[in-house]
């Protein structure tokens, strides 16, 4: 049983990464109502921007991170303005938007590969002295702790934004019914555009998204405790199928 604290730690680390990505994905899915396959590449653009500014140009890490967030947000906003917005305006189906987002994914991936090659790039030299901590028998590093911290902060800020601001109420309204939101005077294009910027930062249900992220991470890490590691993928997608069959409305009802 000595292994359990470390498995919990591993699950929390993986869950935090999934949760950070889930927040943005959920937000765009909730408002724009399509599966944005290009979303993953935005996180990658953020990472490569930090690599470019902080590692290649030597700017401080905090500035590189700020530029990374801005650039990935901007790319996401441009993709919305020039690709998804016109398609949505002509009432294209979800399938068309999905294929368009697949195009965005492939094209941006190719651009990144041209600019930075397909080789592994690493920021580890910028993080010298990555301290190792131990808590209740689980070992984790300073970077892993910061991932967890960032996840908590992002979730708290987003939950506050959605619940207590006018912008949040507009987002909630659009995710419920975009047509009615338009009728009551919400500038839906502007709000959805902002969402794309933030998601390069849903409100399907952000609480459900976060719960799902951690459920997945715990299932993956505890699932291979007693069986071989190559079962990880089978466990993940088995869980997905079970949810689609028995709980299609998600973990929490909206």
């Amino acid at each position: 049983m000595d292994i359990v604290p470390q498995l919990i730690t591993n699950s929390l680390i993986a869950g935090s990464i999934y949760a950070i990505l889930t927040l943005g994905f959920n937000l765009t899915y909730g408002t724009a109502k399509f599966i944005d396959m290009g979303y993953g590449v935005l996180a990658v653009i953020g990472g490569y921007s930090v690599f470019y500014f902080s590692k290649l140009l030597g700017l401080p890490l905090w500035l590189g991170a700020l530029l990374g967030i801005t650039i990935s947000g901007l790319v996401s906003y441009l993709a919305y303005t020039f690709i998804y917005k016109p398609l949505r305006a002509r009432k294209s189906s979800g399938a068309v938007l999905l294929i368009a987002s697949l195009g965005v994914l492939t094209a941006l991936q190719a651009v990144i590969a041209i600019l930075f090659t397909s080789q592994f790039q690493t920021l580890s030299s910028l993080l010298s002295g990555n301290r190792i901590f131990e808590l209740f028998g689980g070992t984790f590093t300073a970077v892993q702790l910061s991932i967890f911290g960032i996840g908590v902060v992002l979730f708290t800020v987003l939950a506050f934004l959605l619940k207590y601001t006018l912008f949040g109420k507009a987002v909630t309204a659009i995710s419920d019914d975009e047509e009615v939101s338009k009728i009551v005077g919400i500038n839906t294009d502007r709000i959805v555009g902002c969402i794309f910027f933030i998601s390069g930062g849903g409100i399907g249900n952000i609480y459900g998204g976060i719960a799902g992220a951690f459920l997945l991470a715990f299932a993956e890490n505890f699932g291979i405790w007693k069986i071989a590691g190559e079962w990880k993928g089978a466990i993940t997608f088995g869980l997905l199928i079970m949810f689609l069959l028995w709980r299609p409305q998600g973990i929490f009802k909206r």
């Binding site: 292994i3 591993n10 090659t117 580890s124 190792i132 590691g229």
Partner: protein, 339 residues
């Protein structure tokens, strides 16, 4: 109308004959032997850095061979592939469209199933590819990974050792923490790791992050600057098997210098293997005039060939072997370990 039809038919015949002549390769009217050699290697994804170095090694060998023997003209055709489905379509294109007879490959996971495509067509596939009582294994799910685990594991237990951890991982994951947590629980004296490039760097880093301090042992494919860059300080003490350096470069003393001038990096094991592979393939192709059955026999007869990657001997089953030493990472560099 009839005349137009005849002109069209004649044009078709001319184009067909011309295309057939193109596809056949072989000797041209000028007496130059045209040799087409394919490569189905990973040019994108996790193992792209390896594919890139293989390409550089093959390109360098092509330049050297053509400079030495002007009667040979080599055309190298590259396709991107590592996973079986990608390698399969790459091979089908190289064989059916480009009509190549020799294909270099890297990923064993793709090479093994692809033999079903290449062997019936007579196409030759070339794969470029401590004292402890308790050992653990972490290896990727490929034929190479499984074979490595099997043979090292068998030898280890024959010598009285005990295997306390056995973790096979999918090819495309980078989170090995839970696999390593399980290994840590078995308290091994040594961990054998079969991984490549950045993924290997990640395994090494996550092993040390979890507080596991026992030696990690890799293989001859791991003398790779990407491993050191990803693992950082955690790479210190990482041990690998490697070709004997007293032999390296004997095949062509200019190779290292030429490669560095061209690409601004030192040739690694993959570039050197690819260089030697093309040298041997072209020699066999030229002496057999493209007959693949004859080439196969010729290649299986290679004995004590002094290549840039070491002294190569190929047995009757096509398995290449080289004399081996051990290296360890010290102060961020691979240096010779013991005798």
């Amino acid at each position: 109308m009839k005349k137009t039809l005849w002109i069209i038919i004649a044009l078709f015949v001319v184009v067909f004959v011309w295309l057939s002549a193109e596809r056949e390769g072989g000797s041209s009217a000028t007496g130059t032997m045209q040799i087409k050699i394919g490569a189905a290697i990973p040019l994108t994804g996790n193992y792209a850095s390896i594919g890139e170095n293989i390409k550089r090694g093959l390109d360098t060998a092509k330049r050297d061979i053509e400079a030495k023997d002007r009667s040979l003209s080599i055309e190298l055709l590259y396709e991107d592939g590592c996973q079986p489905k990608d390698v399969t379509s790459a091979l089908q294109k190289l064989i059916a469209v480009n009509n190549v007879k020799v294909i270099n490959q890297f990923c064993a996971i793709g090479l093994v199933p692809s033999l079903e495509i290449t062997e019936p067509k007579g196409v030759i596939s070339v794969g470029i590819a401590a004292k402890a009582k308790k050992a653990a294994f972490i290896y990727y799910n490929t034929q190479f990974g499984k074979d490595y685990r099997k043979y090292i594991g068998e030898r280890f237990t024959e010598l009285g050792g005990q295997i306390v951890g056995d973790e096979m991982t999918p090819l495309d994951v980078l989170d090995f923490r839970t696999n390593l947590t399980k290994i840590k629980e078995g308290k091994p004296d040594v961990i054998f790791v079969t991984q490549l490039t950045g993924a290997l760097g990640t395994v090494i880093k996550q092993t040390r992050d979890l507080g596991i301090q026992v030696p990690l042992i890799g293989n001859y494919q791991n003398e790779d600057p990407v491993v050191l860059s990803v693992a950082g300080a955690a790479a210190e003490g990482f041990i690998i098997s490697s070709a004997d350096p007293s032999i390296l470069g004997k095949g062509d003393p200019n190779f290292k210098q030429e490669f560095e001038e061209q690409y601004n990096v030192q040739p690694d094991v993959f570039a050197s293997n690819a260089y030697d592979a093309l040298q041997l393939e072209v020699a066999a192709y030229a002496s057999c005039k493209g007959d693949t059955a004859c080439m196969k026999t010729e290649l299986h007869k290679v004995s004590d060939y002094r290549g840039v990657s070491g002294t190569i001997t190929i047995d009757e089953n096509g398995i290449a072997s080289k004399p081996t030493i051990f290296k360890i990472v010290k102060d961020g560099k691979f240096v010779q370990y013991g005798n």
